[in-house]
Symmetry: D2
Subunit: 285 residues, 4 copies
């Protein structure tokens, strides 16, 4: 399907009778062909409804902005909706932040190069110079922004680089903690990969923690970044079975494969506008 | 949620613009509160649309039959739909057929006794007398119908017992092949558990086949029964990792746990009217 | 294989060259046929070696006690080993403690009845009277020991019942916290099933915690009980994928299937003497 | 651990008392420090024993060839063993064959570049010119050997290139069927990745077959190549859950991730000499 002709509507509102009929009739009457609809109500009539629709835009009888104004008046206001519409033709601009470990970075670049990620990778930013050549081989600019004690200056420099041209920031094993102020520039638009099954083993060196606790599965968690460390809304998680045979070093190697997969899946969901964040949870449709 | 107040609509039709709006508006206008909606189109506009809705019935402005007549005229005919509506208040009557191995039977009876299966288990039929006491302990009638060479007579006897009071037949490791004529009495209403990841290892003694082929995973498959052996629409499958360490006997023991889980999940999906069968495939919403 | 003819040797010692040769030669020269050998060294020569052997006893040239005395002198003392030998002919006596929720209890009783658990279930003890009939149907004594505020009295009563005839205590969703003194009677011989992927969601109501944190997988953990709540050595864990669609109640239902499987697998490993505990970790061979 | 100092012994023989004692005593007396031992007997005393040991070589009291001669005389001949010893210092030379699809190739090259595969990648051979640049960026020679109808000539050319410098051939989605004669040059040394859970969906276009059969899991299988297509000894398999929502194209995309992981794991097992092939099955220790 041609992304240029696709739009997505995401809605959060109090659940009441008639919402789906109202939304689908509105879109149908304006010439939008609905190609996907997913919804979930936390409880029927009394809870919250989460709704995602995908529709084709070539036969719309009005422009995007006009459609949105009409939707606000005719549907969203009466039903007290929080909502947005995104258009496939607006390719998302993704920046990747990375430190020394490159496995997550390379997975994303490689999928991007294969055409598996519907975005533009605009830059890679790192507090180490190591990955420059590998990144530039993909034709992507590499910015080396060392941190070296003066984190405010480093963050200011990064904001300068990212500013105005970044829809999504991916922390592909970026090992610096970002300030609340930096995070505040990209609400629900920074995705981090944490190398454990959160909330187990939050904080530093989770594979060592897992080894010492003697767990039988290790995991990885992709989540949106909030000011509270490792506590933001979880997007995707997975685990792999391990045993007493694995050293900390082997857990790290096994974990790398997991981190690559989990981060790539979470980024793909975000790029397809499949995620609705509500409070500290995600609805991934 | 009280099952008495719930109905499910399942629809299969050529995909065209306006279907979801038409269906949801129709239901809304008749006082049906939609609590779940799932749909899938094999391809947009040109393919087939599969749609399942769950709605609450207390505020319907007409009786069930009147609603169905109106739906046929106003929605189903114009959109060329195959469809049905089921009502939660019509508890499904389930009969279980079993041979000597009782693990799948016991899993179902036990979940039924816990209130986990929304049905009435009306009887257990077996070609062996072995499980009578265990079954009667649950307060369920047990019919011993030996096969002994004269299968037509045995099937006739079973049809007599099942007749008119059976909505679903579950083959919980029933080791007799049913005739095309018997199967024809219950189209898409006989569920079998096959002890392999179909289509691998169809036919007899699949764990021995798996052992000899040296596979690294063994599986189980729940499917609707059609006249062609082990080839009906698949409802649910799962696998477990095994290794060279496992003997055929150990594969069987590991497989039993898998069979119990896979069959129980498939039966639950059927009882919740979550399955649409199309050709030789299922859509499980 | 006939359990009566089988013994298992478990060894923990500083890793050094020659251990496996010494152990296997010793057993071979005394007529023990080794049928399984698993070992793991945390690091070669410098770390700790964990070793488990299974051997056949019919051709032993000495009695069990004589073999053990010789092993201590000839092998264990020179290599500074902690070790034990268990004999399959000494059937383990297992007591099950349970509260209101019966799914784990029933899974164990049912596997026991099928001959899948090599033990004798000597009794079920509960702080509720509810499961008496179900348990007595299996021919197993049921002891109702209410707690009602006076926990020391209840524990004293339980110890009286268990005393001298219990090799393994299984907490099959027993919802009372046991005192350090009670736990001290059964070191590494009490197995608990916790309904989360520990260390995530330790403590009360883990499915609600999981729901509120929005995790994408829920888990279950079987572990030996130590005085510190939910912190003992982990024996077995597993997880199932869930989504935003599942209510707390549905997470509990999905979790029950997981708890049954995980607890049953952990108990089977213990009964087969497959577990070596070292510090707060297990080696499960 | 330094690979230069490690050797592996693999043994297949009729199971009898005393084998493990004989092997471990022999190695210990020659100064070999055993660091891993895995064994499996298909049945005790009467079946076949498979045994793998890893040991350190720096303190050997004889050279490798002398050790092997002594082992043959003292241990292997009396116990009727098939066996080999491999030395970590002999780095395996791996050639990769590929057609147009590059995901498996890139996964292997990338792991190789990260130091995760203990081998030397000596060349990539393809019947298409497409991947030359990507491969040469890794500093690895790329040989374009078109097939174009004259397969015998192409195979002759490939043998010429591979000859004398190849320990392992990996078919990383090489879409040409190799002749029995070609396969015969590399017994149990050609690994193929098949994009299904074999034996289900052998042959062409397995994702389409899976789609049409409506399976709920798709798989990938890495196996040694034998003259019979898709029927060689299975090394590793895995599966991923899919649903009616996935088109053939999406199954292919999901499958690619699976193929990469399964092939990489199988190749790593081969390089670590963890596999014993017996008949048409593998023992993977």
């Amino acid at each position: 399907m041609d992304l240029k002709n696709i739009a997505r509507l995401r809605v959060t509102c109090p659940d009441k009778p008639g919402i789906i009929a109202a939304v689908t009739s509105f879109l149908h009457h304006h010439g939008a062909n609905i190609t996907a609809l997913d919804q979930h109500a936390t409880e029927p009539y009394g809870g919250t409804l989460y709704l995602r629709l995908e529709f084709q835009t070539p036969n719309l009888d009005v422009s995007g902005p006009a459609l949105e104004r009409a939707f606000q008046d005719v549907v969203a206001t009466p039903f007290d909706m929080a909502w947005d519409i995104t258009y496939g033709r607006n390719t998302k601009r993704m920046a990747i932040l990375v430190s020394r470990q490159e496995h997550c970075l390379m997975e994303l670049l490689w999928r991007f190069a294969r055409g598996e990620l519907p975005c533009e990778v605009t830059m890679v930013v790192s507090n180490h110079p190591d990955q420059r050549e590998a990144v530039e081989n993909f034709g992507i600019p590499y910015h080396y922004v060392p941190v070296d004690g003066d984190k405010p200056a480093a963050e200011a420099r990064m904001l300068e680089i990212l500013d105005g041209q970044t829809d999504l920031v991916v922390l592909a094993r970026y090992m610096q903690i970002l300030s609340e102020s930096f995070v505040g520039h990209f609400p629900n638009r920074i995705i981090n990969i944490h190398h454990s099954f959160l909330p187990a083993f939050a904080g530093a060196d989770p594979y060592r923690q897992a080894y010492e606790r003697g767990v039988k599965l290790i995991g990885a968690t992709a989540h949106y970044v909030t000011p509270e460390l490792d506590a933001g809304p979880i997007i995707e998680q997975d685990v792999t079975r391990v045993s007493h045979r694995h050293s900390v070093e082997e857990l790290r190697a096994i974990g790398r494969d997991l981190e690559r997969q989990v981060l790539a899946r979470a980024v793909a969901c975000h790029l397809d506008d499949k995620i609705i964040v509500s409070g500290n949870k995600t609805w991934v449709f």
